[in-house]
Symmetry: D2
Subunit: 341 residues, 4 copies
């Protein structure tokens, strides 16, 4: 069985395993205050082209999302997001469990626009019952989105400007950030995220690490006391160096970008093959998550050899499915899938 | 600098690193539903001598504590614990952040008694304002305690019976469980914990793993839907197999017990040396955390070579310190410390 | 200015003022444990034709909603409701502040159906990522709805049966219960609510009282310890008798039903007049909240004499407005409005 | 049976009942935005000698405490208070239910000192594990305390200065503020509270009203959006004027102070009689709560005619009890109690 279910099916880049072995008997302080975390933070600052950011390492995406959001909002505030956003759909109410409502905006492809954010804020301000309604307190977007789509630089800067105008911190969930940056269709850079957001995270779990996300605070006002929040929400690893070591390896020799590019090359091969066979896509194929629409018999046939998610029926005889490539996807696997298509 | 600060200063047992390398290119489902997690669960059931337990893997102690406690209590209930308990002191209010009060009971050495629990429950029931007071809803103890001390089998079964009488789930924080089980002074076994508690966890982070705790539900009534809680509290690792692989290795060939015993041998060497030199102990030396009382000049001298925590002043010229050995502490390090004492 | 804004614009029925004066110097125990509360609870049991219910008095609707919901749900559960439901829209995230997500179902007129509830539950159960999604844990409906519409007996019993099948407590927000019961179009009785729900509340604030809601627990399993929850959520009045006295007066001589009927007669007069003038309604006029669609110039004209809410634009020259009658609305006021129309 | 149990056993001052009748048919906007609330706010500003305060009306003490505290603290912060403080003992964990730990300081008589607050803050800052410990985020005191004792002006200003130094908002629970102000032993004024605190509340429930507390924000930085918090926590009365009308009456003609003085005269009569009979007091008799130590037989005898709380055993034959006078206590009742003593 060859798996295209998701990008968290395998382990990590070999350099991480080597580094874990090499450093195993070192004695270091705990809780992220060791030399490896310090070094990884510096490498990320360099890659972001911004020495003024704060970098923290957390163990997973849901944890990063809820910890960041809960650290920013006041009790009466909620977080604007796409209705399809991970926090609104697939985190078992983690944000609500910290006391805050997700404020979903309609979205066809996973993205939301500056105009939608502005309208939501103005609708709130202009509602005569405004104090009876959750106040929009920040904006959450995913890059790439849960549907594999991207924001352009223009879209991101528009959102950021709107957020500035209404004093709303902009938070980017970058669980698959590498794959977004590595897409040919992308015009954003890592330094752009360290400029046009208030806080974002660089996903490691799905991009080369065993686990771990690097949360980057850009806005000075939000930085204070974040380590307390990490500890309170259960995200502070005693052997914090496990995260430092992994991000050290990912951000050495541009590996984070190279392995992301590999996943994208695999996705591009697959996209080209699907297009050639005249399959349509449910969402525009922009990153490592592809949503082709296949005939049901074809799906049944593929299932004998491959595992992948079905997304939704598109008509009685067709279904959109999801194929995901990763930093470790071998070209042979993609070739086999292409042959089987 | 040789570190006796804590038991999370080094990496993990070498078998874990080997297994991570060996399994790195395997493709497995995520979120703890892979073969390694399944196997690790079976190994733990076997080690517990109880096939009816539920085993879940979480990434850290604070996370395990808050997730378990929040899954059990109703909103108006709190958790009885030693005033010195980790949840009451060193988790940045993680339990309160889930809406529940810690109900601290006085403790000299980190333990609490069945009689204290019973009194707390009866005081609550008999208070005419009982509905205005947080209701005791469960009991939390640590084994070993934060002060390195142990419960005897009699003390644990007394607590368990009292908890049964008043319908209070008993939860044991086993962050350092191995070291408690490996102590010469201990008369409890792992199967005892799978019999005389409602839920407990087997600490991996401090006992041989890179990170990870195995939460064991003994009481059927508490098992339902726990995976939702793990996800909601940010503890569900996408590459869940990272935890399964680690506990597979720890519970193969009795490694968990052997490495714990090693730490205890190192602690016993040190204890004997300290006793020989007539140093007194602030808490009875029972596990891998030792709290000798040293002259302040001696401490200053040791600091040049060793790092360790000071605990509290005992008089103007003496201070209790904490030395902690781990599964990886080399005998040379202990010898050097003994020589320096 | 004559106000048709809402049903909470005036004071209370005169009998309550008399009773407050009559009892003012009595000394009674606090927190709802006085003779007036006891008597009121008995009157409500009698009116419900069910001696097995538990009755509690809270001070307002949002408080009743959040206290009941938080007392029922487990942390990973949410509450199914109409997207238009008060808890989802107009309570500043009170439910989320207790840690739970509102799970909105689409609704045109404020009602939801048994089929929608069943689909939501099955969708959840059948989702392969179910543990990553908030679990439906109960159902909330409003009777009458926020749009002035009603459930029929068939619709309520269908919902109740579906809730039974999937073990979901059914909670009815009865902030305006009297007006629903007093509608000519209604076929439900108070005893029906004490039979086909798990918990509901009888609104006092909008139906004759100065303030106060009577929460009625029908389902034995949900009754335990509710007074703790009231206290914890800030709803337990020290001079609890204020609530008992009010419900004593409301449930003496069928006053609750008589005054509700008065409001409905006023609403019916107005409905008839609006229909006669060929105005259309945005929602079916069933209770004391009427949503006629008026020409914008007519609205501007009415505003000189009357205050009321605009609901939404229906086209460039028309707007739906809301007129609300209450237990105290004088017929002269309605006549004046009819004349002005 | 004559009750000295508490100061919430009777109704309200007659002027409130008259005003409720007089205003009953008025139509006013809801949620505290009516003319009576506006007028009451102005009267309180005048009484506080501070036109820059914000005044909000809530329905009860627990609600006021939890709403204010939750509006101020960030998730990782707790509230310093006396171990005996109402929020720590008698509010069913309402503060914890909003996610925050109460940080109790030892207290013999219900008061805490500026030195204690400073030590708690410094202990936190200087703890090497500070990020693992709840951060002190504000200070809560009660005036008078739960033990009937008072802070002097010097003690209050010391606390306030310490709070300023460490950027900790100081919140005063004034559930019985009137009785504190009305004590002969008191040297503080209402304007002092509007100067030397950040936020406090003027208790109505126990001092002349049917129910209601007036929360006063002094510190500009804390004022923003408080009405959202009131709504979210269930404290916003639809017929908000009920609270406005009551505080209008209490703050007209100095009634709040006159009725408080009456309660204190009754308490002073009783105190003098108790002293004359050589009874000792468990806490210094300073306000309307008196804690004399009585022989057990005397208590049994009194119980036939009077109801009151026992506080605690002081030796085998003596018990401290609590007698409470109120704004409505008739002199005859006190005379009868004195005769019976």
């Amino acid at each position: 069985m060859i798996r295209f279910d998701s990008d968290y099916m395998e382990g990590c880049i070999p350099e991480i395993l080597e580094a874990l072995s090499r450093t195993n008997s070192e004695q270091t302080p705990g809780y992220g205050e060791d030399v490896h975390c310090d070094h990884a933070r510096q490498l990320i600052k360099d890659a972001c082209g911004n020495q003024n950011i704060d970098v923290h390492f957390l163990t997973g995406g849901t944890q990063a999302n809820m910890t960041v959001i809960a650290s920013i909002l006041k009790p009466h505030q909620g977080v604007l997001c796409a209705a399809t956003g991970h926090i609104n759909v697939h985190e078992t109410g983690a944000v609500e469990a910290t006391g805050h409502k997700c404020l979903p905006l309609p979205s066809k492809d996973g993205t939301i626009t500056a105009a939608q954010v502005e309208k939501a804020v103005l609708d709130h301000i202009n509602d005569e019952s405004f104090e009876h309604i959750v106040q929009p307190g920040m904006v959450y977007i995913s890059f790439p989105t849960e549907n594999g789509t991207l924001y352009t630089k223009q879209q991101l800067t528009d959102l950021y400007e709107t957020c500035r105008r209404y004093d709303l911190p902009l938070f980017v969930d970058g669980a698959r950030l590498g794959y977004g940056l590595g897409s040919k269709q992308n015009d954003l850079t890592l330094p752009d995220f360290a400029k046009y957001t208030d806080v974002f995270y660089i996903g490691g779990t799905k991009v080369g690490a065993l686990f771990g996300e690097a949360v980057v605070f850009v806005n000075d006002r939000l930085k204070k006391d974040f380590r307390y929040h990490i500890k309170q929400r259960g995200g502070m690893l005693a052997k914090g160096r496990m995260l430092g070591i992994q991000f050290e390896e990912l951000f050495t020799d541009n590996r984070y970008f190279k392995i992301s590019r590999h996943a994208m090359e695999m996705a591009e091969l697959l996209t080209d093959a699907l297009k050639e066979k005249n399959y349509e896509f449910f969402y525009a194929p922009q990153t490592n998550q592809l949503f082709p629409i296949l005939p049901n018999e074809k799906i049944a046939e593929l299932r004998k050899q491959f595992s992948f998610h079905t997304w939704c029926k598109t008509d009685d005889s067709h279904t959109a499915v999801r194929f995901v490539t990763s930093f470790m996807t071998p070209k042979e696997n993609v070739d086999q899938l292409i042959n089987a298509l």
